[in-house]
Symmetry: C2
Subunit: 179 residues, 2 copies
DNA sequence: CATCGATGTGTACACTCGTACACATGATGT
DNA sequence: ACATCATGTGTACGAGTGTACACATCGATG
């Protein structure tokens, strides 16, 4: 039965997992769903990822990496003369303008850490990297940490309530926090 | 078969659902698990709650109500002379000093709104009530909204990373936001 | 007291799931 | 060329699941 050798199968399975989770939520993640999405037999997903948690962790890793890379790019590109508050508002607007399902997935994966011990270290590491990035533009680390907390809380509120992003409101809060 | 008439069965089922979700996570919610916890036959849970979402929504409603009642009490009791920033820090410390599993459940239910349409309106309503409560002590609604966002983000960060609450850091941020 | 609807109970069905495992195949090193 | 092992494939099993439904029982209404 025409087995094809596929050196990138593992990657493709992770891609499929991300697609399934983005479209149907983490709850819909199953070996079978991912196998179907990747057009691969069931045994293949279980071979590369012994447990579902392994698969979830791999998906989160890739997603977090992309997220952090995007954020690093933002940090690099915006002119150094732009104040931190404005920079962060621009970042939020960029996120909201992009793919919504993708954004929801990112937060769903991130928040899954609340209950899944396997996911916690990755999510925690993600927070630390975000703080480190923001830190480059703030007076101290405490401020950076608070800014990231506000960022997360604001994004979650927007995603949950469906309320439109209020630029002026966010700007006022961010300016207060950055002194 | 000794059927006992039980006018409060519905409530007891909701209690059991909350207990199951608190101990094992929302993912472990099932008609059977709840029925076992409530010491009630399977058919009874499906009779009172046609679908699992109904049960989840009922659990979230009760949890949110308790949460908001606690917050209203906090708003009422603290002296009017205490500045908003200090008040919020006290609230956070109160939350963190309480039952951790309960706290995690509250946020898990709240964040479930991200992906479950049935839960969204309740979570959104919960945000609105929180904003209204905080609003009584702030200059404008935008500030109250920002404070609630920061509150949520901070709590989530603490719950996910396991980092201890940094009073001074939070106080500085809150003071900046409340002007 | 008779009746009827609300409530309670037990069981069965069809389905999905994770996992295990026997077997097939291709790549690689010698 | 051959042996070996990582990788790929198909299938089966047992455990859980939501849901439906037939039947039992109770409270209230007339």
């Amino acid at each position: 039965m025409a087995r094809r050798y596929d050196p990138e199968r593992r990657d493709r399975i992770v891609d499929a997992a991300i697609k399934v989770a983005a479209e149907r939520g983490i709850g819909a993640l199953s070996h079978r769903a991912v196998a179907a999405e990747a057009d691969v037999p069931l045994g293949s997903t279980t071979y590369h990822f012994k447990t579902l948690d392994d698969l979830l962790v791999a998906a989160l890793r890739r997603t977090a990496r992309a997220w952090l890379d995007g954020m690093a790019e933002w940090e690099r590109d915006l002119g150094a003369d732009v104040p931190p508050a404005e920079r962060l508002v621009a970042l939020i607007e960029e996120w909201l303008a992009g793919d919504r399902a993708r954004l929801e997935l990112e937060y769903e994966l991130y928040l899954a850490a609340l209950r899944r011990p396997a996911v916690r270290p990755i999510a925690a590491e993600c927070v630390e990297e975000m703080v480190a990035l923001v830190r480059r533009r703030t007076a101290d680390e405490g401020t950076a940490r608070a800014l990231v907390a506000f960022l997360d809380g604001l994004m979650i509120q927007i995603l949950i309530t469906g309320r439109p992003f209020d630029r002026a409101e966010a700007l006022a809060a961010l300016r207060g926090m950055t002194g």
